[in-house]
Every structure is written in structure tokens, then in C-alpha cells.
């Protein structure tokens, strides 16, 4: 008879099989057998978070910056419920997470036992799939399948709930890697030549084309970004990106129009509105992108490439739908494109030259400009200086949620995929700090910065303690405007400046807070001291909380006001009353 293994041992054997090196977690009664087993598996390092939500976002940051699935381990009841925000966040932003949760022993399930909750019930709508394992013989197969589901097709979170008695029970360990039943969302990656030819035909006919690319390019892997760059250079078409897609295409390239959507650039949004061909690669026509659906890009033919069939046609009807992984689509397309069109770039130049003139005209609006000041630090200026002073390094940026997030997206330029981690779909305040922890774990020695808001960062501040424990020199760069700025901005624009509960009185002294955690605190109050202090932050090899005091009343522009189409943007404060005036705005 073969050797018998406990459920807890089996958990680690499958993790080892998947070459897991880090798990983010928090112990408790219902997972103690698994924690007990940890000592026997030296290749797996456990990172002790300070809250299960923190463990979850750290696993997300780890996954998004490394391309590997993030693994988290939590106990039953409150451990599992605390993980729900992170799981939902990962679900919305397609991040592969395997969450293992402890559960009360099988004989107590359903009795309202201590720390019992219906974990699979609660997490059913926020995972791709979940399992309650009631027989130890199923355990290896289920965890193995969990990794497969999390990482194939459109990635996402999964959860395996393991009752405590199952962790103790023993069985033989077999890992069959058959299981090639159709996994939903996993599509055959064969793009047909016919489909690709249709794309090429539309591209040739178009005189106002635009690429609209999203997180799918990043999720498809670094090769997809390379192919995207090649395709853009073959065509000379303009390209814009969603929030999640930033970094797939170089942010400082002249063909790049900047981010689109609610706080996207004037040129990107107008290109989307006026184009005659929209080529959506790995984006999902989210409502922050489309604005008013009925008036979304009225004159264009639309191509949509997505790995998830349910993303196609959900919000916007398209003319050509291609269900595919981005990398394999682009591989086929680029090859065919080069075969069929020698020197397309030059021969097609005149065809799209008026279009580029239109775009240049929109660019002249310089929609990201703002009025700088000598007295007070403008948040946009702070992000620009941070970019200028760090861009020679391979930097990883995470953010919280709010104005600072949008300013980071607008003013920090990304040149590589997997360098930008932000909570887009769910918009989770408190994401950025723990995500930075995970990013730094996956990328030792790299510069990891959380561009934060003072309100958001207080939601998961406890994870500074994690950063200190594991010597993770993350930098928390707080754009401290003392307000929930994004909320305040909406209240100013839509609720007659009734700033109901959006001011945080009694903020902590962030410098002292940093010291209390055992890390470095830095504060900047004036524009002229900013550079010096940013350099100081970058140069210290310890976790830093940087309290950057910025103009409390600054608003984030440009913006598409709610329910408006893309061609009706507000460019700046003057715009609420009258026509755009470009005067008084300076580009730093």
C-alpha cells in the first residue's frame, strides 16, 4: 500500500506541484493543521498579513506583477468574510487567485458552530468557481482544478473550503493531470484566417481607425504587449488604453493618445467618438469607458477581441466578434498582416492623415494641463515629479481609489506591462498598500510605490506592519488633500458643494505613524522641497510613508460628466460655466 498523506500535507503537495513560492495568509482555529504543516515545506514562504483583506490584495499585487497566480490562506468565519472584498476585487479585474479557507469540521457544518459561515455560499458570486471539500480523496483533484480554473481563459479568483477534519484525514496522494474536460471560458485559441482577414479588410478600408486596448493584453502575458507594439507600428494607427491596460503600450509614444474614459484625455475620447473603426483588444466596454451607451462612438464599425465570450455584446453591439486570447490573436494577425500588406505604413499614410490632423487638434487642448502653483503642491505636479525622478528605474506603481488614482493614471507614464496595479472594476479603497506588499514580495529589489489617498490608505494601513516584518521597502506616497477628494469633487459638481462627510477631521500624523510602525516618515509641504524629499524616499531602503500635502480643493480633469457621450468633456474648472479656455493652464 502506498504512503498515506493528511489533507494538510496534500494541500502543500499540490501547491508545490504548481511551484507556489509564496502564500499570503492569516491563521485561525479551522486552518491550524495546514499551518502546522507549513514547517515541512521549505520552498513555500508564508507572508503573514495583518488582515485577510490585506492578504487578498497582496496576493492580487503578487499575481498582477508576476503573471503567476496569487495564493491566500484564511481561516473559517471571519477569516473568510474578510477575504470577500479582495476576492470580489480580483473577480472584477480578472486576477488569478487561489484562496484556501478552513471550515468547521464536517459534522458541525450547518449547526451554526463557532466561526462557521457559509463560505462557498458567500463567495459563489465573487469567484469563478468554489468547492467545499467533504472527502479527503477529492482534495488533490479539487485544488489542482482550482489552479486550472483560476489561470485559464479569463483569469479570476477561486476558493477551496476545507473542513478541519478533512485536513487531518489521511489518504493516498494521486494527482491525475487529465481533467481536460472543457473548462468554461477556456476557448480553443485557434483564430481562423478568415476572421483575421476580415479584421485586415476593415483596417484597410478605415480612414479613422483607433485601437482601444485593455487589461486583456496584460493578462495574456508580456508577449501580447510586444505583439501589440508591433501591430501599432505596422499600421501607424492611434492607440488608447483603459485604466487596466496601461503599460501594454509605451505611455510616452507619439501614437499613444493616453487613457480613455471618464477621466481620459480629450484626444482619446474624441478619437473614440469620431472614429470609423474601433479595434477593441482585451477591453470590456465598461461603463466608465462608454459613458452613455446610446451615443457611444456612433459612426464606427467595431471589432471586439476578448477571451470571454460573455464580454462580447454585453454592453455594446459589435460588428466583428473574435473570441480569443490576445497573444494568439495578435500572432496570427501580425503574421498575416505582414504577408498581405507590404509597406502598409507608408502606403496608407495619406489615407489616415486627416485623422491624425484631427487628433493633433484635440491634442492641442492639452487636456491634462492644470494651473500650477508656487505656494502649494498640486497633486498632478507631485505625480509628475515622482515620475520624472523615478523613471530611470524599473518601477512598479500601485494605487488606492480616488482622484490620486486618476492623476497617477494620467501623469505617470508606463512603458512595460505588469508595472501598474490598480483596483479598476471594484474601485476598492485600501487596495494599493497591501497590493504593494505583494508586488514587492514578487519583485525583490525593485522600486514599488503606492500612489495613495489619505482616506484610502487608512483602510489597510495595518499592512505597514507586514512590510516592516518582511523588510519590504515599499513607498506609500500619499497625496494628502484631507478630503475624500473624488467624493468631494462629485459633491462640488453635482450636489451644490454640500460636502457631506467627505472631509476627514482628525487625520493621524503620518510621519509619526510611520515611525510607530518602524518605518520612515517623510512630509512635503511646499513645491520647492518636493524633489529633494522624493529623492530621499527613493534612496532609502526601508518602507516609507510619504505625506505629501497637496491642494485640498483640486479637481480631477478632464472628465466626462455622468451620462454624457465622449465628445462632451469638461476640460477644467472654467468649463463648468463656459467654453474651454486654455489660458492660465500650464504644463509643467
Amino acid at each position: 500500500m502506498g504512503k498515506l498523506f493528511s489533507g494538510a500535507e496534500i494541500v502543500f503537495k499540490v501547491l508545490e506541484h504548481h511551484k507556489v513560492e509564496h502564500i499570503f495568509g492569516y491563521p485561525g482555529g479551522a486552518v491550524l493543521p495546514i499551518y502546522d504543516e507549513l514547517k515541512n515545506h521549505k520552498t513555500i514562504k508564508h507572508i503573514l498579513a495583518r488582515h485577510e483583506q490585506g492578504a487578498g490584495h497582496a496576493a492580487e499585487g503578487y499575481a498582477r506583477s508576476s503573471g503567476k497566480p496569487g495564493v491566500m490562506l484564511v481561516t473559517s468565519g471571519p477569516g473568510a468574510t474578510n477575504a470577500v472584498t479582495a476576492l470580489t476585487d480580483a473577480y472584477m479585474d480578472s486576477v488569478p487567485i487561489v484562496c484556501i479557507s478552513g471550515q468547521v469540521p464536517t459534522h458541525l457544518i450547518g449547526t451554526d458552530a463557532f466561526q462557521e459561515c457559509d463560505t462557498t455560499g458567500i463567495t459563489r458570486p465573487c469567484t469563478k468557481h468554489n468547492w467545499l471539500v467533504k472527502d479527503v480523496k477529492d482534495l488533490a483533484r479539487v485544488i489542482n482544478l482550482a489552479f486550472e480554473v483560476a489561470t485559464t481563459g479569463r483569469p479570476g479568483p477561486v476558493l477551496v473550503d476545507i473542513p478541519k477534519d478533512i485536513q487531518f484525514k489521511k489518504t493516498k496522494f494521486v494527482l491525475k493531470s487529465k481533467n481536460k474536460k472543457k473548462l468554461n471560458g477556456k476557448v480553443n485559441d485557434k483564430v481562423s484566417i478568415n476572421e483575421v482577414d476580415q479584421v485586415i479588410n476593415l483596417m484597410k478600408k478605415s480612414s479613422k481607425p483607433v485601437f482601444y486596448t485593455g487589461g486583456g493584453v496584460i493578462n495574456s502575458g508580456p508577449e501580447a504587449s510586444k505583439l501589440l507594439r508591433e501591430l501599432v507600428s505596422l499600421t501607424g494607427f492611434p492607440i488608447t488604453s483603459t485604466l487596466q491596460g496601461l503599460g501594454a503600450y509605451p505611455g510616452d509614444d507619439p501614437l499613444f493618445l493616453g487613457m480613455l474614459g471618464m477621466h481620459g484625455t480629450y484626444e482619446a475620447n474624441n478619437a473614440m467618438y469620431n472614429c470609423d473603426l474601433m479595434i477593441n483588444i482585451g477591453a470590456r466596454f465598461d461603463d466608465r469607458i462608454t459613458g452613455k451607451v446610446d451615443e457611444f462612438s456612433p459612426k464606427s464599425k467595431k471589432i471586439h477581441v476578448d477571451i470571454d465570450p460573455s464580454s462580447i455584446g454585453k454592453n455594446i453591439k459589435v460588428d466583428l466578434a473574435i473570441v480569443s486570447d490576445v497573444e494568439s490573436f495578435l500572432k496570427t494577425l501580425n503574421k498575416r498582416f505582414k504577408e498581405k500588406n507590404k509597406d502598409f505604413l507608408n502606403s496608407n499614410k495619406s489615407n489616415i492623415s486627416t485623422w491624425w490632423k484631427d487628433i493633433d487638434k484635440w491634442r492641442q487642448k492639452k487636456s491634462l494641463n492644470y494651473k500650477n502653483s508656487k505656494e502649494v503642491i498640486k497633486p498632478q505636479y507631485a505625480v509628475q515629479r515622482l515620475y520624472e525622478l523615478s523613471k530611470d528605474k524599473d518601477v512598479y506603481i500601485t494605487t488606492e481609489v480616488g482622484q490620486h488614482q486618476m492623476w497617477a493614471a494620467q501623469h505617470y507614464k508606463f512603458n512595460k506591462p505588469n508595472r501598474w496595479m490598480t483596483s479598476g472594476g471594484l474601485g476598492t479603497m485600501g487596495y494599493g498598500l497591501p497590493a504593494a506588499v505583494g508586488v514587492q514580495v514578487a519583485n525583490p529589489g525593485k522600486l514599488v510605490i503606492d500612489i495613495a489617498g489619505e482616506a484610502s490608505v487608512l483602510m489597510t494601513m495595518q499592512e505597514m506592519s507586514t512590510a516592516v516584518q518582511y523588510k519590504l521597502p515599499i513607498k506609500i506616497f500619499i497625496l494628502n488633500n484631507q478630503y475624500m477628494g473624488m467624493v468631494r469633487q462629485w459633491q462640488e459638481l453635482l450636489h451644490e458643494k454640500n460636502y457631506s462627510e467627505s472631509y476627514t477631521a482628525a487625520l493621524p500624523n503620518f510621519v509619526k505613524l510611520a515611525e510607530a510602525y518602524g518605518c520612515i516618515g517623510i512630509q512635503a509641504k511646499k513645491p520647492d522641497e518636493l524633489d529633494e524629499k522624493i529623492k530621499e524616499m527613493i534612496n532609502v531602503n526601508k518602507p516609507v510613508i510619504f505625506d505629501c500635502l497637496v491642494d485640498p480643493m483640486e479637481n480631477c480633469f478632464p472628465m466626462i460628466p455622468s451620462g454624457k457621450p465622449h465628445n462632451q468633456m469638461l476640460l477644467g474648472p472654467e468649463d463648468e460655466k463656459e467654453e474651454v479656455s486654455d489660458e492660465g493652464k500650464t504644463l509643467v
Binding site: T120, G121, R124, P125, K128, H129, L132, V149, L183, N184, G185, D287, T290, G291, K292, V293, D294, D308, P309, S310, G313, K314, K317, W490, L493, L494, H495, P561, S562, G563, L570, E576
Partner: protein
């Protein structure tokens, strides 16, 4: 600048609602019905009726028949979302007026009334493949199979004739001829 007081867009034009029958083959495992039902409630789709039972004992496959309504875009989403669920094997979909498909619901109806009214009630039921399942001196239980709207009508007619209780299933569906659902 017209002011909408929301960070969200206003609803666009609504398409026309269609009635559809959706048939789903799933692994008969714990929680599968909750997954399917949760998908509908979570995304705001409508379930008019639902019928489910295991149809393949060996492979543990259940067949779920769901009557729903929605715009063509919503119906398409329902199918695509269902196909993403891991225990779902296949999904078929028909308009409820599709002539190539048979739809049936079953109802058990209890009548307690005078002899005269009971006679009348039996007669009304005749059209609907009725079978008397139980009889006593002042009551009977009758089984009928028909379309939903016919059963609706029947129940209305039987009201004054002594209907005291009705129990109904959701619709089940089958293709006509030698074809099967794909």
C-alpha cells in the same frame, strides 16, 4: 451643462422583451442549482419557472429548464454567462412560441365540492390529458398537463367549482421529431 445627479449613465432605450425557454445540462453536484439561480438573481434576470431533475444517473447529469424573458441582448448574456459556470455542460435556448419544440407543465389540482360541481370540473379538465389520481365522497385530485397559460385559465375556471389547492411544476421542453437539443 445639464446636470445628472449620478456618477452613472442613465438607462438607454430598452429592447423588446421576448419569452424564452432555456435548457441547461449540469453536473448534479452540491450547490449547482444555487449557482444557476444565483446567476439569474445576481444579474437581474428573470425566472418565471424552473424545473430540474437528474436525467443521467451514471454521469450524474441534471437537466434544468428555465422559462425567462428578456431583450435579445439579455437572453444572449444569460446563455453566455451560464456557459461560463464550471458544472454547466451545454445550454439550449428557444423562443416560447417555437413550433418545433414541445413545452409542458404539470399540475395537481384538488376539488372539494358538490357532486354537480365535481362533474362540471371533470369535464373542464378533459381537454388537458387529465387523470384522476384520488377520489373521496366529496373530493378528487386530478392531474393535468398543458401549457402554462392553459393551466392558468383552467385554475381560474375551476375556482368557483371547488378548487381548494393547486400544485404546479415548471415547464419542461422536448424537440419534436427525431432531433435532439444541441
Amino acid at each position: 451643462m445639464g446636470k445628472s445627479k449620478s456618477a452613472y449613465s442613465e438607462p438607454g432605450k430598452l429592447g423588446k422583451l421576448e419569452n424564452h425557454i432555456i435548457v441547461v445540462w449540469v453536473d448534479n453536484e452540491a450547490g449547482v442549482l444555487a449557482r444557476v439561480a444565483g446567476l439569474f438573481s445576481g444579474r437581474g434576470y428573470n425566472i418565471e419557472s424552473l424545473a430540474v431533475a437528474e436525467v443521467d444517473k451514471k454521469k450524474h447529469i441534471s437537466r434544468i429548464t428555465i422559462v425567462t424573458s428578456g431583450t435579445p441582448q439579455v437572453i444572449e448574456q444569460i446563455k453566455l454567462q451560464l456557459r461560463k459556470l464550471i458544472p454547466v455542460h451545454k445550454v439550449a435556448d428557444f423562443k416560447s412560441n417555437d413550433q418545433k419544440i414541445l413545452f409542458k407543465e404539470l399540475a395537481l389540482i384538488k376539488i372539494v365540492s358538490s357532486k354537480k360541481n365535481r362533474e362540471k370540473a371533470r369535464k373542464v379538465c378533459k381537454k388537458y390529458n387529465s387523470i384522476i389520481l384520488d377520489k373521496s365522497k366529496n373530493s378528487f385530485v386530478i392531474q393535468v398537463t398543458a401549457l402554462r397559460r392553459d393551466i392558468d385559465k383552467l385554475i381560474e375556471t375551476l375556482g368557483p367549482l371547488g378548487l381548494v389547492s393547486a400544485s404546479r411544476t415548471g415547464a419542461v421542453a422536448m424537440t419534436r421529431g427525431s432531433e435532439i437539443f444541441k
